[in-house]
Symmetry: C2
Subunit: 348 residues, 2 copies
């Protein structure tokens, strides 16, 4: 039997190119000999948009469909009006490929930075809904630019969309030692969407009697993130709340340089996409200063999605060892050096 | 000349009654002899709803209009379906009385708890829009409770509503030593509302050349709250982002027991309302365990709104002194004892 991975690579903007190169380096180093890796790079992002005005043409979208998975660096540049690449490329991919599970694990490794005193135990995963909520682009502006302007944003939530992500989150919680799932929403204000989420959360919970459940309003959840993060195991929440909470989660658990994410289509109707949570960081792009660890950890999520669990674990252990060995007083390593170090560790 | 304050008091639910009693105690102690205080208590909240099914009848709303200001304790109880009292009472008051400036200061006093290592300098104020955004109750649910349910929440944003709160925030920033204003939104995803906010923010900024400005996406803002809170001076943001950020702000600056808020109608067309950010905390209600400091600090905001700045400062100094004198190893004081201590300090 021969195995192969046909990977699409979208380096994107800013530090995207640099971190993706390290992700691929570590991926090549960890893959068993018998697994053939084919990669195809897609030129998408600010450069392409400036040259052609295109964000994600149909031809690219079609071509991307043929891959087993997508590795993405970062999208966004100050030279492009806000929203153009986010809506036209990044979110378009998540929506077109029905990435309804946006998975974002947070773990505070020893010897890594946290702004929290006392270094609490942090080891939770946020299951962020990826295809609905306030992210659907449903809204508009009337009398734009005048004193009489009205602008709307519509959060769309369906039982179909909520139930599938809630069930996925329960299954993930059931597979973890602590078996705890927290729903985060704001059902005392956003009563229509909130009650939809809460009712489905309660109903699907009956299929998972072994999972302990909890509900928190999103505002209260941010308090517990900084005062008692150890109370969380798996969190399920909507697209926008998930966006906000996972940046905060990254900040408390080693910083945005370590936060990995997976945009998953569990039905495997479309390729899933793996990307660091951080942005394109144009201020440090091209200087070899970016930490590629978040991308490397995203590669681990990719391997797990493809069933290569042992290789995923090797990467996670390599990252843990690398972080443990980091010496605050030593000269900062370059992006490339960190990638090299991780590649050596996973190969050995 | 004789002066008087005609104050409406809504103790509300849970610890509301206890903390409001201390707020009034301190208010009475700080007021100059020549200022007459009249108070009228309104029985609104879970109890009233259980007895009569009413949340905020027109007669009460009309009567409340006649007051100079409103002091509110807390609203909400697990025995009432989520949303009923929030939408039917608390938010109804904010909307009916056009409280478009929801002011929430955060200051880390010495000797108070923060989960952040290194105790950064925290002294900022969030100007949260109070009458628009996702809080308007505009939304609905179709085929409720069925697998085909669709639920929407509409965020409504008007140039009228955004401009007035943005201008208020600039004026507040201009009056502070650091003169810095940060807009927080998510204009790379919520492009319609986001561009409305950003355009107005930029345009109104031309009237305040002395104010330094900054823009942050809400997800990134949460990171800076925990890694660099000293970068903030005044923040202006929408109703929902403001809700989330101010709970996080409270958590990092002494905890929710210290966070005060003012729901202000700057045009003075309606009475403004002052309330602690915390909820009704039914788990500790009636036990004398609640810290009334957030309510007492809300009374200081009330005094400032009524032009009694010297008295507001006396309260703030009393709170600072009380916090500085708190001894973690001493037996915890009761709600009443803290109120007494603050009343003694402001009177002397
Ligand atoms: C860049 C932006 C559109 C994106 C989001 O809001 O989802 C990012 O913040 C993220 O969390 O992946
Ligand atoms: C109780 C709730 C409706 C309210 C809000 O969301 O505004 C509260 O969280 C607050 O911040 O005052």
């Amino acid at each position: 039997m021969s195995r192969s991975i046909n990977l699409a690579v979208i380096p994107g903007d800013g530090i995207g190119q640099e971190v993706v190169a390290q992700g691929l380096k570590v991926l090549r180093a960890v893959l068993p000999q018998d697994v053939k890796l084919e990669t195809k790079e897609y030129d998408l992002g600010a450069g392409r948009w400036h040259r052609t005005g295109e964000t994600l043409p149909d031809a690219d979208l079609e071509a991307l469909k043929g891959h087993d998975a997508i590795l993405l660096g970062a999208i966004g540049d100050p030279s492009v009006p806000s929203g153009v690449l986010e809506r036209g490329l990044l979110l378009k991919l998540r929506f077109a490929f029905d990435h309804y599970v946006n998975l974002r694990p947070s773990k505070l490794f020893p010897n890594t930075a946290t702004p929290l005193a006392g270094r609490p135990d942090i080891d939770f995963v946020v299951v962020r809904e990826g295809t609905e909520g306030p992210y659907t682009g449903n809204g508009g502006s009337l009398r734009t630019g005048t004193p009489a302007e009205v602008a709307t944003e519509v959060s769309l939530n369906t039982a179909y969309g909520v139930e599938r992500v809630v069930r996925d989150a329960y299954a993930r919680a059931a597979a973890r030692p602590r078996k705890k799932l927290t729903l985060v929403h704001k059902n005392n204000v956003l009563v229509y969407a909130g009650h939809l989420w809460k009712n489905i959360f309660d109903r699907v919970g009956q299929e998972f009697p072994e999972v302990t459940t909890d509900y928190l309003h999103v505002d209260a959840a941010t308090i517990f993130f900084v005062t008692q993060p150890e109370r969380f195991d798996v969190i399920v929440t909507d697209n926008l709340f998930g966006d906000i909470l996972t940046d905060l989660a990254a900040a408390i658990s080693g910083g945005i340089g370590l936060a990995a994410s997976a945009n998953i289509n569990p039905d495997r109707a479309f390729p899933s996409m793996f990307e660091p949570v951080h942005g394109s960081a144009p201020d440090i792009a091209g200087q070899g200063k970016a930490d590629p660890t978040a991308t490397v950890l995203s590669v681990a999520l990719l391997l797990r999605h493809l069933g290569l669990d042992a290789e995923a674990i090797r990467i996670e252990e390599a990252v843990a060892a690398d972080l443990a060995g980091r010496d605050g007083s030593a000269a900062a390593r370059t992006t490339d050096e960190i990638g090299d170090a991780l590649a050596v560790r996973v190969a050995s």
